[in-house]
Symmetry: C2
């Protein structure tokens, strides 16, 4: 199966200097994949010039002269018809690519994707969903920043979508769904979580109940649902902690000659640990709930290695026929009238 991925090369904190090398690295490891590099041709061309012919033959540059700024408000994004982000998503819309990947402005990505690719029946808002590592395996967490103001109904939809994803990708027929809260008792939480909990409880999902922040990495449930504000903060705080611990470990190694020797002896061990803890390995969140194509959000600060992982995830989603599986699952989960039973 040939996979074509449209890459928004201008997005993210670093733009083409990260997205183009990341795309080339991806192509070199995925011989059946092609990419369309979307962005300012005069910036992209020099970066692919020296790539091996075997890679060059599997990429093309699609000129898009406008760039969506990381801090640009939605109204201004809408008027940029030739932005690299919009063009990449429209390549998916028109069947020229099966997936789009962007490290750009999250709000704009959600807005453009929702408009161009539509949402699955019964789903109003796409959510940003990420498979986080846990002690037991992984957990699908959503929403991680697509929707900062949520209603209980949105959280309920996220529960359905997360369960769909877990069951489609992990062959898990009855994935457990937890609702992120500040306590596990029924009286805890704010208005939003209390009402969302009632909706989830009344559904035919395998609803686990409230879980707390520390349950995420414990892997207490298969899916965890929260509003996009909380999810984004929790994710980024975790990233920050991971980096700080990496710094602490380096500082302990460099404390003196003896610790440096210890660090040297234990190097393979420490390297394996650091690789496992490296958030770059886990880059690439699915924009879940879209009807007509796959969109992946890379971290804005991703380096070339991390961006490559996001492309690899997009390729996985396409080769696993993610959208069709989600549609099939959604039919099963919703009642015969398209409503949840």
């Amino acid at each position: 199966m040939k996979i074509t991925i449209a890459v928004d090369c201008m997005g993210g904190d670093h733009g083409p200097v990260v997205t183009v090398p990341g795309s080339l690295a991806f192509l070199s490891k995925h011989p059946n994949a092609e990419t369309v590099l979307v962005g300012r041709e005069e910036e992209l061309s020099p970066l692919v010039e020296k790539a091996p012919a075997g890679l060059k033959s599997r990429l093309r540059i699609y000129n898009a002269t406008q760039v969506v700024g990381m801090d640009e408000p939605p109204a201004s994004v809408r008027s940029k018809k030739n932005s690299s982000m919009r063009e990449a998503i429209h390549l998916v819309k028109h069947g020229e690519a099966q997936a789009a990947v962007s490290a750009g402005n999250t709000g704009a990505l959600v807005m453009i994707s929702r408009f161009a690719l539509k949402t699955l029946p019964g789903i109003n808002r796409p959510a940003i969903c990420f498979a986080l590592p846990t002690i037991k395996g992984h957990i699908y967490a959503l929403d991680l920043g697509g929707n900062v103001d949520c209603t209980p109904e949105h959280l309920f939809e996220f529960g359905i979508m997360g369960a769909m994803l877990a069951s489609a990708l992990d062959h898990n027929e009855r994935p457990t769904v937890g609702l992120l809260n500040v306590g596990t008792e029924e009286i805890k939480g704010n208005e939003l979580t209390r009402r969302a909990g009632e909706l989830l409880q009344a559904s035919n999902l395998n609803y686990y109940g409230y879980i707390e922040g520390d349950d995420i990495f414990k892997g207490t449930t298969d899916v965890v649902v929260c509003d996009g504000f909380t999810g984004n903060v929790a994710l980024k705080t975790s990233e920050g902690l991971g980096k700080m611990l990496g710094t602490f470990l380096r500082e302990e190694v460099r404390r003196g000659p003896l610790t440096m020797l210890m660090g040297l002896v234990a190097m393979p061990l420490l390297r394996r640990f650091r690789n496992r803890a490296n958030p770059g390995h886990y880059n690439g969140a699915v924009l879940l709930g879209l009807r007509n194509g796959v969109v992946l959000k890379s971290h804005g600060s991703a380096d070339a290695f991390a961006f490559e992982q996001a492309l690899a995830r997009a390729a996985d989603a396409v080769s696993n026929d993610l959208i069709q599986r989600l549609r099939d699952r959604l039919d099963t989960m919703m009642g015969p009238n398209g409503e949840d039973a």
Copy 2:
């Protein structure tokens, strides 16, 4: 200076089997401190029986027959006039102790403390504030779970209280205050953060602007402000990540004979790293904004070592005359009419 701390021995996930040994360990390291162990006498007595005479002479048991459950709603808490939590706080109210420490129900602790000890002028809600470690030093984060539904005005008060704490404890005259958000741009965030940002901007605080989750452990600002729901989730998620990474490190060491040997050689290094990363070292959050005494909240799942740290923090707060310093600072920060300029 003699310091007396009232300990709610019945609170937390483990109760007296953790709080009593934690209190004894604290006494053994703080020769000028005394404790009042509040709780069911028949449960506490056997646990102190074998303590050395030098410690026993500095503790007394205060019998409180009721226990506030971890999941108990506020209405039911209010009717328990002889609960260990309430009695511990009332010992502070009546001047028999300068500080109270509890690992119990956070909502109940905030409610009882606010009622018994009142809030500082201009402050409506006490907030749970914690000095988190950062790459650069530490950051005062609040609210971490005391107030799950917040208005912009509450976040603004948290900013004032956090700045007061930083300036009182760190001799930092103009501590920077960051507002936790999902992006650093002005257009990002939800209604709550946008309006709170406006209030902070218009104040005479050294307001830094929006910060993101990963800025916390970077130490981008001296103080970070957020609603109690987000703060609690972020804190607990970080704890969960810390534990997972600890598990990963152990797994890498135990992977085979060679890695075990490496782990053995690097043991002192790894132990120092783990100690630095151990959340137990950082246990004990101040209930900030109270007028007539110090209340510290220990993590509910604290072990004896972690609980001891919370007691040590309470003793620090008392010996640093925290409340008086906060009052002095508050006068400086507020305008001449008690209103912020």
